[in-house]
Symmetry: C2
Subunit: 193 residues, 2 copies
DNA sequence: CCCATAATTCATCGCATGATGAATTTCGGG
DNA sequence: CCCGAAATTCATCATGCGATGAATTATGGG
C-alpha cells in the first residue's frame, strides 16, 4: 500500500479540510491555529492545505465565510412588525449559533479578538450590513446607538454561552433565552429613554 | 559606554516590563504575544524578562492580576439598596474599564478567548467571586440565571466598546451608557418574567 | 574599599511554524 | 489504453519563538 500519491477513489478532502479548519480556528482563533494541526485533524498532509488554499490565510478565509446573509435575515425578522422584534432577534441569534453555522462564527469571534485587522473587517461588515439595516427600521431617537446597544446584548450572550461557557447560560434553551432577553433588546430598540 | 552589565542608578525596570506586558497582552492576547516584543517595548533584553518572571506564563500572571477586588466592590455597589443597582453596576463597570485597570482587563479578555485554560480559570473566578455574591443578593426566582444574564449585557458592552470599538458605543460617556443600559440590567436582576 | 549579589546583555540551543518543490500515484478524456 | 492533469506525500528551508547559561557591570552592606 503506497504512502504517497493520489488516493484510490474520488475524495471530498477539500470539504474535510474546511471542516477541520473551522473547528480548529473556532477553538483557538487565527493566530494560535496551525496549518499542521488542521492537517492532522483532517487526516491529511499539511502541504495539501497549501496546495488547495495557498496559505494559512487562504484556508481561513475559505473556512469562515460569514454563514448567514444579513440582506436576507434582517428583512425577514423585521417583516412581522416592530413588536416582538427583540424576541425574534434573540431566538434567531441563538438558533444560528446552535446550528452548524455556529462553528464559523466561533472562529470569527476568536480571531477578531486576537487581530486588529480582523476586528476592523468585522466591524465594518457588521456596521454596514447588519446594524445599518436595523437602525434604518428603528422609529425612535438615536437609532444607531440603539442598534449598537441591542447588539451588545447579543454579543455578550454569545461570549458567555459559547466562548466562556458559563452556566446556567450555556445550557439554557433558545426559547428561554429569547423570553428573558427579548424584552430587553426590544426596549433598547424602541423604548423611551 | 558599556552595552552590557548593570545600568547606572537604580531602575524601575520590573515595573516598566509589567506595563509593556499588560499593553502587549492587551493588544494581541496571550498566545500571539511574544516575550521578545515585550522586551523591545520595555527597552530591555528579552532574557531579562525570563530573569525576573521565569517564563512567558510568569510575566503574564504577574501582569494581569485581576485589577479589582469583588469582595470589596460588590458589597459597596449593593449597599445603597436594590433600586438603582443596575445603573450603578453599569457605571462602575465602564469606569473601571476606562481607568488604568482597563489595560489588564483587555489582556484577560483577549487571552480568555484564545485559551481554554484561561477561559476555565476566569469562569471559575467570576462565577464564584462575582456572580455568586450578586446572585445571593437577588430576591427573585432563578437568581443565578439572572446574574449571568445581567453579566452578559456588561460583557457585550465591553466587547463592542473596547475590543471591536464600534461607534457610537466606543465614544459614549459612562453616564450615558449607564442611563441606557442600567434599566435593562436592573430588569434582569429584579424584574418579573 | 572590597566583594557578594543583583541587573543586564549576548550568544546560542532546540523546537515548531508556514511555505516550497520534487516525487509518486490515481483519475478520466481522447 | 495512454497520457496529461489532479491529488497526495515527503523532505527540506528559513524564520521566529521561548528558554538557558555565561559574561559584564553596577550596587551596597560590612
Amino acid at each position: 500500500m503506497p504512502r504517497t500519491g493520489r488516493r484510490a477513489g474520488n475524495s471530498d478532502t477539500r470539504q474535510v479540510i474546511l471542516e477541520a479548519a473551522r473547528a480548529h480556528f473556532g477553538k483557538v482563533g487565527y493566530e494560535a491555529a496551525t496549518v499542521r494541526r488542521i492537517g492532522v485533524d483532517a487526516g491529511v498532509d499539511p502541504a495539501l492545505i497549501a496546495h488547495y488554499f495557498g496559505s494559512k490565510e487562504g484556508v481561513f478565509i475559505a473556512a469562515v465565510e460569514f454563514p448567514a446573509d444579513p440582506a436576507e435575515f434582517i428583512p425577514r425578522l423585521l417583516a412581522p412588525g416592530i413588536e416582538g422584534l427583540g424576541e425574534r432577534l434573540v431566538r434567531f441569534f441563538v438558533e444560528t449559533w446552535d446550528s452548524p453555522a455556529g462553528s464559523p462564527m466561533l472562529a470569527i469571534v476568536r480571531s477578531v479578538v486576537s487581530s486588529e485587522a480582523a476586528a476592523t473587517a468585522l466591524r465594518e461588515f457588521v456596521t454596514r450590513e447588519v446594524l445599518g439595516r436595523l437602525a434604518a427600521a428603528i422609529d425612535a431617537d438615536q437609532p444607531q446607538l440603539r442598534a449598537t446597544l441591542a447588539a451588545s446584548q447579543l454579543v455578550g450572550l454569545a461570549m458567555l454561552r459559547y466562548v466562556v461557557r458559563v452556566e446556567p447560560l450555556a445550557s439554557a434553551k433558545a426559547q428561554e433565552l429569547a423570553t428573558w432577553l427579548g424584552p430587553n433588546v426590544q426596549r433598547q430598540l424602541t423604548g423611551h429613554v
